[in-house]
Symmetry: D2
């Protein structure tokens, strides 16, 4: 019966927070508003200017946005020569004043701008959206990478693990949140709320998400889990419409079959590893009989890699074996696995446990991997070690079964080659 | 009837968050743990190391803490020559890579350490407490000001207005929170919960505080307000035990009679201005008949200033006049008012409205100002302008009444001098 | 910012309440369990017996249920001769003991049984469902009306207005609750959650429901409201898919276009009047510009009445005029309006404001009233008076427009007759 | 992480419910208002009349209240002759209509009045307070027992176990609730909030209360528990100021050392048994190591019984032995134990486990029992059986130790007598 009387209440204020100090629309250009916001010493007028800038930004055209970002990039930039001089002085005479002078000069003013923008209700969400725009513009304006570096730096600090909240998503969650889950699902598409219901209402299914207190209606990342009696080898089987839910209390395995990042504006800020481990913990607490934690994951890059290598599969089993080879051997420059999902799970310390042919009959599944899927096993007694080995020497942890499939594939291609 | 179904619930998780990945005690030195935390690439092991460091810190002796801070200050410092070189290169060839290399080198590694420490439950609160220690050590180790500069920089970013929650404190608040209000009251001491009751239960009294979602049981700052029919001239009158509460709905004035910062570890990060303006807004929304907002404030530096100037008061009225002179004329180097409370309210754009003799008969009140108190008036139609005038040219906004008292005081001392 | 810290929390316990004192299944017959429950003096064993009876009831066949109800009806009945004797004694000598003896004997023991059943978690909901069964059985077993009388008596007492909670239903409500709204809508069918979204998400729409604290997941009754600039004359128009939501703040009219009772087991216990008036109040508080409150209602009995009277409509306008006549003149024995919807709204003190032809093009709408619909106007300055006039002398309040339509219809039929 | 998103929110509306349909003060007499409320058919005007009656009642003088109760008792009484006739008819011809006619006539109209009064916000609490008044008046107006019989009948139905909520009281509870705990403590007085803190904040202490959703700020009954390593023999020891809290996780015993009913107006409606069993369940769930549940209870009637019997104690041990005799042998007419606390716990199925001399050194403890206290043991494997034996044949379950003390006392008095 223990619960925190206070917290929910304290925090519901975030949302209820009235928009205060609203004045008339301030139609100066975004850059002018930014300069005004940076130069004001008054917190109240700062609040108003931040509100104005965010609202004008929301109404701005693509040209206006780009010109704003270029302003951030060029005008709110460090003065490198000045900074170099300050650093040199400090190197010679490491005084406190020297340090402060250097520190202030070394941080581009756009960082302070972002902090000052983050005052009105909903500002955090808008800044995340602003970064999504920026990432778009960066493609054709590579120099904006500097500004993006600062956005990312600040967002990493604000979306620090200590500020995140893990939350189970159920059929009792608000429809508005469930809507977002439907929209953000990136692995196995969810058609509508009724389709989602099948993934969260049965007692042998779980869904968890991370939220940030300042964006309580926006999931940051979520994971879908099936509770089973074995390591699942087929997503078609897991998601088939006519299945009968099982008793959660007797489940022994938890299968993470979908994990989706929700916020484009938080690209490059990693939550997945922490969410998976949090969910392992939650499930282990709730259901002591669940002791095996594994994924059932897509292999997005398989077909492309096979095509490039000129490998051809004549059966689902061929895809399976090539998948094993691909996952264990194919690297990108830098030595990491070529497959992005593999990079993620192996980087978390998971191991390649099994590969399944004909596991995903969806159009997307067939297109990317000929229907093959893979289990990454999270054995918590090994993840730390495997993570270290992967991080330091690129070692891919794989079961005998997977290694043997890979060997089969190698043999096949060697035979062909010969 | 509108409310957010979701938020309170999402956020109550912050508090309920289980302590996960707890292993055995890791008794390496704080500095060793810090280095390990900075060098790990694994988020899970990072979580564990952060937990260990925070727990070992909590058990550490003063010597161990100091040595930890010195480690942060000396070893997790920038390499100034290297940074200078990077800045020069970037000045010459402003490439993205050059920018990133510079940015990373320009930030002392202790900032990343603090971000990594902020993972486990309760970490934010512990880091705030850590800074309170640091401020203590800094007194005898001035070089630690560099490390404090980084703490403050990060805490300012994390305790940004956009993340704060304003909350009314009432007799329905948890006793645990009320206990803290009693403990943190810094202006007019509260004896115990029953004494606090008199300041929050009557319908003509209000109390508001700011909280941070990651420290939901710790107020950051709070303000106490009396709803009245006039600008109060006596704290003794406001707080007397036998008064009868008035009908809030007919009140016309809101008197801010106490404002207290709660967290030593957040010194130098200003919340007061924003809280006052938020509360003005809240009260204006709730009680449209309240249109005048004023403080009833102490004058902590009056007696000391008089003593130093050799001024002597022969009556409460003398104190009043000297107070007016002191508040309008006494400056510290830099030109700001000598009195810290005056600096705060005038800096917010308030004006000196009136000074009252014999307004605070408490031992403390008599000792610091001979019992005189002052009203700072927050006239929202003027605060922005007065703030700018104060910030740019040091102009102290004062009513005719106060100016005339100050003139009286000047005359008195000139007479004496003559 | 005022809210009750405690209540939400206290009450969330209702739902979290563990099922305690669960023993093995008790497979005695329902009647035996009922007798055991009535004869036990132990509250703890009572709790267990109540749990057993409710669970066995849930598993019982139709025959077993009927036999249980017959047991309640025959065996847990008053002993009328004994009661008559006690009443006579009390009439002669009105002593306290005589009163108590009579009172206890006058209440059938089935009432005490129901009270004792209402102990375990979820019992209230099960008893409501039990009554729905009873109402079904009553059709072919009219004598069960006695037992139903007692069910209804007790449920009226338990679902007293003082215990009900009005709650706005929004897109932030839990999907589980929204599902129920979809299922219970009885007037204008809702297809699925996405269809419901159109009735609750736009800012010019509202939906309110009554709940009971012991059945927090079961709405008792709900009403759907459109905010408009005029009294709507067409449900097709209100619900069309391509409409653009209007700004709620400028709305002047609130149109109650659907009101549905949700619980068959609460038949005969009226919530509608109170809900409408509560919602009028809520909307008036939220949106001061809304000053006209009206329904847009179906006329379920029109076609049948016309058929029986041999009236024929040749155009939508004919339906409109006959509707006006029907609503103002057609009575059932007892003198009340024949139309059930008319009985409800006129009984609440509303007035017949207008009738619209071709307002409901749905199959159901065409079948029951040729597409005609009616506005009942809730003018709070008149409802009390109109209610009294209706209740005491059957006076139907109707606008000139409606009276004139009715006159038109009369003329038509007289012409035809002539 | 599972919780009900909805409930807390739904129910917080109970408290927030606005007072609607407020008109001008209606100054008719209470009896006139009662008659008007009973005769109105309009629910809205009923709401208004209920509000008026409750507000006028709150302002009424003692005479006006008494005259109102006499009105209820005499005028809203059954017509016994008429009821007798209806019962006779029904005995002869058991028709549904006959049953309904009888049922309606058999219930005094004051019951319907109470149901109609229970509409506005806060009505339930006011009706409970009204009954407290009634119980007072009944002392000098015994005929009011009839009206009280109806109040009690209705309140028992409304405060049915199925509607109650068990809630742990902690230092995180609202001060307003804690205030009430201080005020309502009836066994071992609590001085103020700081004194209460010692009973709820330490981790080896618990406090639980029952609440009703319509009176969320009013505990109905609460129990205070100490977690220990043995069956406590001294309240002085349990409550001493300087004790060090123990680790709850290692506790093996739960000692119920105080249980207090809070609402005079609910006298005769028993919650204690259910609360104790709920708390046993809660503690067993939270702390599996706690397996023994016992009280440490006062013996309020010991001294009076000894005085009446002419027994004299010469030592604490004498009190202990007389207490054992008193508790096992002293009966009131009807055969139940003379001691009210013994009646309660033995009636719940507990057994007399031990009696302690010099266990309560407070003035009250010495006055009522010479400082002796008693443990009633709740052994859940025996409570049902012991309860039945007690209820049917008055058997008092007692340990050998207690029986032997009682024998000692008997011997003492026989020796004295001899």
């Amino acid at each position: 019966m223990k619960r925190n009387w206070f917290l929910g209440d304290v925090l519901s204020q975030l949302y209820d927070r009235p928009r205060i100090w609203r004045g008339a629309r301030d139609t100066r250009s975004l850059s002018d508003l930014a300069e005004a916001l940076l130069s004001t010493a008054g917190e109240a007028s700062g609040y108003q200017l931040a509100t104005s800038l965010l609202e004008e930004y929301a109404k701005a055209s693509e040209e206006e946005k780009l010109s704003f970002f270029i302003h951030l990039n060029e005008e709110l930039e460090i003065d490198a020569s000045h900074v170099a001089a300050l650093a040199s002085s400090y190197a010679e005479a490491p005084t406190t004043d020297g340090f402060k002078a250097f520190s202030e000069a070394a941080e581009p003013r756009r960082q302070e701008l972002l902090r000052r923008l983050n005052q009105p209700e909903g500002a955090t969400e808008r800044l995340v959206a602003m970064r999504a725009d920026l990432l778009r513009f960066r493609k054709s304006n590579p120099a904006l990478a500097r500004t993006d570096h600062d956005f990312r730096h600040l967002l990493r600090s604000w979306f620090n693990r200590g500020f995140l909240v893990a939350r189970r998503i159920t059929w009792d969650s608000p429809a508005r949140i469930l809507d977002k889950i439907v929209a953000y699902e990136a692995v196995h598409a969810i058609e509508d709320l009724d389709d989602l219901r099948r993934r969260i209402e049965p007692e042998d299914r779980r869904c968890f998400a991370f939220f940030h207190p300042s964006m309580p209606e926006e999931p940051l990342i979520f994971v879908e889990v099936a509770l089973t009696l074995e390591i699942s080898g087929s997503i078609d089987h897991l998601l088939r419409l006519d299945r009968a839910p099982k008793d959660a209390a007797t489940a022994t395995h938890a299968i993470f079959y979908s994990i989706s990042n929700c916020q484009e504006g938080l690209a490059g800020i990693s939550f997945g590893n922490l969410l998976i481990k949090q969910v392992v913990f939650e499930i282990a607490m709730e259901l002591p009989s669940v002791t095996t934690f594994s994924t059932l994951s897509p292999i997005p890059g398989l077909k492309r890699w096979m095509d490039e290598a000129g490998f051809e599969a004549h059966s689902p089993k061929d895809y399976r074996d090539f998948a094993a080879q691909y996952l264990t051997e194919a690297k990108r420059k830098g030595g990491e696995p070529l497959d992005p999902v593999a990079r993620f799970h192996l980087g978390n310390g998971a191991e390649l446990h099994n590969v399944h042919p004909a596991a995903d009959g969806s159009e997307k599944g067939l297109a990317q991997s000929g229907g093959a899927m893979v289990n990454y096993l999270y054995d918590l007694s090994k993840t730390e070690r495997q993570h270290e080995a992967f991080a330091t020497s690129g070692t891919v942890a794989a079961s005998r079964a997977v290694l043997s499939m890979a060997a089969g594939a190698r043999k096949k291609t060697e035979d062909t080659a010969a």
